[in-house]
């Protein structure tokens, strides 16, 4: 019985209950929902509880793309309900498993329908295509009792009521006027009548129609409540609160999903966005895409067997697709050529879930973005997030010429914060960067992404201008240095209690995998930071471009895909 009810669709709100940027509190079978419409029109039906400390999300803030909890400002994305930001820890990317419970939703005929486990289509509402939604009327009585009373509902003697398969009642008069009334079970002894009339008069006619039915339903309500009061009230439903995933019990852990292509997406649109740069719009084949955070990238498994990382450029709440940009690299390892030359609209691609090794702090008073060439892609997502929150930033984009400016429309959103520097020589670029980076200070941060030499130069300038290591964030998209793998050494895995030999010609990562240790990775060139691991003892020869100089000197972590031991033995924290 219980599970039957849960698999039905019930109307839980009227479309008019969801005005722009509002969050509506609904209830079905004892469970509360937070219902909100994003600016792209999508209606979200979520558990009405913040995963953090249980605060009702119906008192949260709908900013059009995300829902923000009132208590500690956690943000949850449109569609996926994945947490995109935890303000108390601005330097960390929230674990991907922090995701609220979502419920199916259909908006149709001016009503919003949901059900804990509802699936399939609504029953046909033929004849109600141009309908008027009646005012919802609550009744303190069990659903069945209300439905039964509704069979006798009517506004003249010719009215006849009939029950439908979905539990609703259709009342038809001799002249063909019909009303279909659905009963929404809020709880075992609390229902709501939601009606549709197969007419849509305007003006006074509409007001009269609404008034008549409001009055008749009110009358029915009073009768049913008298009846219900004579019975013993059924026990209220006790909705089960699902537990959060196990790995969140202590401190959000990094995923251990390795380099897996767990998603299939379709290339829906491929277009040149700048000279040599193609933009790809990827949409899910079924279901929805996982939540991404600004700065995140995906691994794209290309038809020729190569795996490449590309940053997601979407703004917050744009959760129905990912847009990435790919530059044709003459000397690349053939990945970009495959994208440019052989991928076609309609192709299916395997991608990984988004990973964020370049998290964006949102606790800065001012943020400076410095992008060179294709390095603009992660910065676009970051700046769009800050822009949506009204936080202060400036965006410097260094390109060869106007033809090389990618994603013009998206960066256009930044208006006055955007400066495009065209065709500067390396010296002129250096001078410009000195100017841009003239003012380090409290709660000011800089993010850099671009070609290796520019990135190196920018880091150097930032340091000489007085920016601290913690305030400078960067992402390399390739490691161009020659990697030396000629040494052999031993690794001790402290937590797994294993000792492994790493021979010349093999990486630590490969040896770990051979022994069944699940270590996530992505670029496998020491650029993305995914395979980072803690070092407890031993000296490291760092061959990556991900760690900062300070982090390298500290020697507390290692990129297992390229770096090796300087000593005979390393003790790793896994």
């Amino acid at each position: 019985m219980m599970s039957d009810l849960h698999s039905n669709w019930y109307p839980i709100a009227s479309s008019s209950d969801l005005p722009k940027r509002h969050v509506y509190q609904a209830q079905l079978l004892g469970r509360e929902f937070a219902v909100w419409r994003a600016d792209d029109g999508h209606v979200n039906v979520w558990e009405n509880r913040c995963l953090h400390r249980g605060v009702r999300l119906s008192i949260g803030i709908n900013n059009g793309t995300e829902l923000k909890c009132q208590y500690h400002g956690w943000r949850y994305a449109n569609r996926t309900a994945g947490c995109t930001y935890i303000p108390a820890h601005p330097a960390d990317a929230p674990a991907r498993t922090i995701c609220n419970n979502t419920y199916p939703a259909i908006e149709s005929h001016g009503l919003v329908w949901s059900g804990e486990e509802a699936s399939g289509d609504l029953l046909s509402l033929d004849g109600f295509d141009s309908a008027t939604v009646l005012r919802a009327v609550p009744v303190f009585a069990p659903m069945n009792m209300v439905a039964e009373a509704l069979l006798g509902y009517g506004w003249d003697d010719s009215c006849k009521g009939a029950a439908n398969d979905d539990g609703s009642v259709t009342v038809t008069a001799g002249d063909g006027t019909a009303v279909r009334i659905f009963v929404q079970p809020m709880d075992s002894n609390h229902s709501v009548m939601r009606g549709l009339v197969n007419q849509a008069p305007a003006g006074a006619g509409r007001a009269e129609l609404l008034q008549t039915h409001s009055w008749l339903m009110q009358e029915l309500r009073d009768r049913v409540e008298v009846l219900a009061a004579k019975q013993e009230a059924p026990a209220p439903y006790e909705p089960v609160i699902a537990k959060v995933s196990e790995d969140l019990v202590d401190i959000p852990a990094l995923g251990t999903d390795g380099r897996k292509a767990e998603l299939r997406v379709q290339l829906v649109k491929k277009e040149m966005t700048a000279e040599g740069i193609v933009s790809l719009r990827l949409e899910p084949i079924k279901g929805q895409l996982p939540t991404f955070q600004p700065g995140a990238h995906i691994d794209v498994h290309l038809p020729n067997g190569l795996v490449r990382q590309y940053s997601i450029t979407n703004g917050p709440g744009e959760t129905d697709h990912y847009t990435i940009g790919v530059k044709r690299e003459g000397d690349g390892r053939g990945g970009s050529a495959a994208v440019h030359d052989s991928l076609q609209e309609g192709d299916v691609l395997a991608i990984s879930a988004p990973r964020n090794n370049f998290p964006l702090r949102r606790d800065a008073e001012h943020t400076v973005f410095i992008a060179g060439g294709i390095g603009v892609t992660p910065m676009i997502a970051m700046a769009r997030a800050l822009n949506a929150q009204g936080l202060s930033f400036e965006f410097h984009y260094f390109v060869q010429s106007d033809d090389h400016v990618a994603f013009k429309q998206q960066i256009g959103e930044f208006e006055r914060a955007l400066t495009i520097h065209k065709g500067l020589s390396p010296e002129a670029t250096g001078a410009k960067l000195k100017e841009v980076l003239a003012e380090p200070g409290f709660a000011r941060h800089v993010y850099i992404c671009g070609p290796g030499p520019m990135l190196e130069a920018t880091r150097g300038i930032a340091a000489s201008q007085g920016w601290t290591d913690e305030a400078v964030h960067f992402e390399y998209f390739a490691n161009t240095a020659e990697v030396d793998d000629s040494t052999a050494f031993e690794v001790d895995l402290a937590r797994s209690a294993l000792t492994l030999q790493v021979p010349a010609g093999k990486t630590i990562l490969e040896v770990l995998r051979e022994h069944g240790i699940d270590m996530p990775s992505s670029c496998e060139q020491g650029a993305c930071g995914t395979c980072r691991c803690g070092v407890i003892e031993g000296e490291v020869i760092h061959q990556d471009v991900y760690l900062s100089n300070a982090e390298k000197a500290e020697g507390k972590s290692i990129m297992t895909c390229v770096s090796r031991a300087a000593s005979d033995r390393l003790i790793l924290d896994i």
Partner: protein, 295 residues
Amino acid sequence: MSKPKCEDQVALNLWYTIAPIAELEEPGAQQTILLEQQIAYARNAAGEVVVWAHEGVPGGVPEQNTLPVQERYGYVWTTLGSPNSDIFPIPEYAEADRRNIHAATFGVNVSAPRLVENFLDMGHFPFVHTDILGAEPHTEVKEYFVEVSEERDEIIASNCKFWQPMAAAASSGGADVDYIYRVPHPFCSVLYKSSPLDESRKDVIAIFIQPFNQEQVRVHMLLSLLDDANNDTDIRLFQQTIFGQDKPILENQYPKRLPLDPRAETPIRADKSAIAYRRWLSGKGITYGVIPPAA
């Protein structure tokens, strides 16, 4: 008193604040509720504070069958059980140059432990106490220390720092403010906050929660300040503003009782003190106002 309605022996055997002493100036018996038990309090002819349990009308001040009473920190304390320890110490209260003020008594529809967690929580300052105790974008909760002192059986969170827009009346810009939190009683907490007047000493804010039942409480707030500039009314108004901001959030927490199962909610590093508090309550076997972890 008949069989107590609260079945939690640990909760029953604690001392509770039931009213500020100043309330006893009013003539006649005052009534309140503690752990679902109706109780009354008054001064008897000899001027002593008397507290007793009753059903319905309180009647006159009884001579026997009264409840244990202590006057401490400006409040009347009582218990429905037999406590095996004294009320926890707040030594600062006795310092001669401090102003001890009863800030207010507030009613809230929430469990006592949810309220304690809110008191320990810094992460909500910028969002709930916007432009007073915090301001976006300065939202970071920096690492701090938490220890459970075996000897004193209390939780101490120290080295807590949070950025505040108007850290002190004297400073124009924002700065980090230092806090120390103590939880010396399952339903009470004491906060030490750096004093703008004296770097070596701290202002003290304490909350003493009086549970009416598992999901409704009232909380008494004591201030022990080094401040000599503001008058009592301004200080009270300030605390009432702060509290008025927390109340709607607290009353919208679901479930109202604090879930002790570690997988019921999602802690982050900033919640270290709350994690320690939940473990400490579990260890004590408290069941009042909480949802114990499923066995």
